[in-house]
Symmetry: none
Subunit: 379 residues, 2 copies
């Protein structure tokens, strides 16, 4: 459950998870062992990539993934070594060139695809430029050619009323990338002149594809991901999971799990609704999403997995309208988990759980141990 | 208590320690401070050596000890720098050379001694070969000579129905070791031909003696070990403890403690029965052993040590019939321990203990602090 952790509602003193009626999760908590994870570290608010990498057992401080690369992989673009990817927004600028809407009125995904095609396929100073639509105003651009380096600044000033900034090199090896990116922005501006509100672009998160050892190498698993949002599918691919085609509702994803259950020995099931509701500051909706997930849980538990882990990549408290640093509730069930006294799944009850509070990077070794998949260390 | 931690009995929901009646441990818990330790790390199941090294304050990931060296030191064999030690099994092979019993029907320790003597004292290509009996079918072989390196494979395939494997070098420096080990195996096979069921040998865990700073150096202590099993005596020697002669029952070991109490300022008292019962899957026996230890505890507490630590090197839940990754209950008593609310010594109660859950490598610094033996850090 993306962004699972929360904060108390000012009127009730209860978090989203504490407010929700979750009989199935509570039943699982009673049989399992609970605790709280720190995705990156105490006080550190994780982005989506670090939060997930930690859960998969990759230290997010060691393995950094640029936003551009994540977006590119999420739309099935085959990022190659040496490519530079950046996240793009279609935006609106006024006649003075100042940004009036960083998201171009959230144009439709269809419009985004049409405009992306308009910008796709240029060759600038020998560098091929690929442009792919993501969703609404979001696209990804990939620069492919010799001598490119990713250390350049964003063009996105992250505020309205300002002009898009020129892309500048942070070290001399990136001069060529900055120059080509600026030429691309200039050409995009010309091409989009008649496409108000999407009459300009903003770029950020220029990055290379990092090398991560695959989960098959690390854990000898045959892992699969069930996720409907591009970024999480991309992230799953990056750690070597097979990304399964799936519908986007909770029921769709659990149905995909059921259908594919015999083909894999590890499933990452990503449910986005909790985070979206939290980001929107919609406490009641986050509660409802948790209740929907709880209601659908029997589809998963009926498969009788050796190990079930229920947790999130970070907290997204509705009252903060964004990701936060708060530790994330975790519930682990296996026949060998050494259950604790926790009988309700929530932030406050997990505090007394048998797993204690621990780094999220240790979740996979705990899960692997509970699946009896780890050999003894030393004689 | 070796392998102290457990898992709940399916019928009662209580672990071995929770099932046992332990009035003396509970009294000590009420006066002391409790917690849970991770010997190596969450999800990691420790072997005996890493579990004990961690308790003595040596990071078991940094200090690795081969099985062969551990066995050799455990039988009082003086392993010298450059020696290569391997753990041996007498085993049974059929006429086709396939293993039918990896333990040769667990021959008597007397028979093992007789056969070990038969193989002892050869010189192969200038390398002297020492063979010493350990217990039942187990022996240790030490190769002493120039140019030996320990990076070779085991000859033990760890399964019946297979043939013993040739020892092979994992790097070129180990070629000579592999060749000599194979010659030794061949000569053993010839010498044992008429000694069915012990008509062949299996070797594993080829290793050098590692260098560990002694506990006297690290802690300025004069440490002693009271342990009846060879491996734990060997391990204690490796960290510089004086190994005291002792009988093998709980009462014998505590009597040894009492007699030697004035001569040392640190005692490691190793009680093996908890682990053996766990390994045998005998829940009721593990409960009984814990109760026996509890009953004998007043002999120890009557000595009024400044600090008492009661814990295990790892968990050995009877229902898993082996070591496991679960954290281990720990009880620390001293006049300065800042007691908590725990009044019963068990896995579930220790969860709420004042020591929390922490790496076993920190036990010694806690114990030293409680003995008021550590100076202030910094000005």
């Amino acid at each position: 459950m993306d962004g699972l952790g929360g904060l108390p509602h000012p009127e009730t003193g209860k978090t989203e998870l504490e407010t929700a009626s979750t009989p199935n999760l509570d039943k699982l908590a009673a049989r399992g062992i609970c605790g709280l994870t720190d995705p990156v570290g105490p006080g550190i608010t994780p982005g989506s990539a670090p939060g997930h990498l930690a859960l998969f057992g990759y230290d997010p401080v060691t393995f950094k993934i640029g936003r551009g690369v994540l977006e590119a992989i999420g739309v099935d673009f085959d990022v190659q070594p040496g490519d530079i990817a950046a996240r793009g927004n279609f935006c609106t600028v006024d006649s003075a060139g100042l940004i009036t809407d960083r998201r171009a009125g959230r144009i439709s995904t269809e419009k985004c695809a049409e405009l992306s095609q308009l910008l796709d396929g240029q060759v600038i100073a020998g560098v091929k430029v690929f442009v792919r639509p993501v969703k609404e105003h979001r696209f990804v651009v990939v620069f492919r050619g010799k001598g490119l380096a990713a250390e350049v600044t964003d063009s996105d000033p992250q505020q309205v009323g300002a002009a898009p900034k020129p892309v500048t090199a942070l070290r001399s090896e990136s001069d060529r990338t900055a120059s080509i990116a600026n030429k691309f922005v200039a050409s995009a501006r010309a091409a989009l002149a008649d496409h108000h509100p999407a009459n300009m672009i903003l770029l950020r998160g220029f990055s290379h594809r990092p090398h991560l050892p695959s989960m098959s190498e690390v854990y000898k698993l045959k892992p699969a991901a069930i996720a409907s949002y591009p970024m999480y599918r991309g992230l799953a691919k990056l750690v070597g999971m097979e990304v399964l085609p799936t519908g986007s509702t909770i029921e769709d994803e659990l149905s995909t799990l059921k259908q594919s259950y015999a083909n894999h020995d590890f499933f990452f099931v990503h449910l986005k609704g909790t985070d979206t509701a939290g980001e929107d500051g919609d406490f009641a909706r986050k509660v409802r999403v948790i209740e929907q997930i709880d209601a659908a849980l029997p589809v998963l538990t009926a498969l009788e997995p050796d190990v079930i882990v229920v947790t999130g990549d970070h907290s997204t408290p509705a009252i903060l309208k964004g990701h936060s640093w708060h530790p994330v509730p975790i519930l682990l069930y296996s026949k060998w988990c050494r259950t604790d006294t926790v009988t309700k799944f929530s932030e406050s009850t997990c505090l007394a759980g048998g797993l204690g509070r621990f780094p999220a990077t240790q979740v996979m070794s705990l899960a692997m141990a509970n699946a009896l998949k780890l050999a003894k260390f030393g004689a």
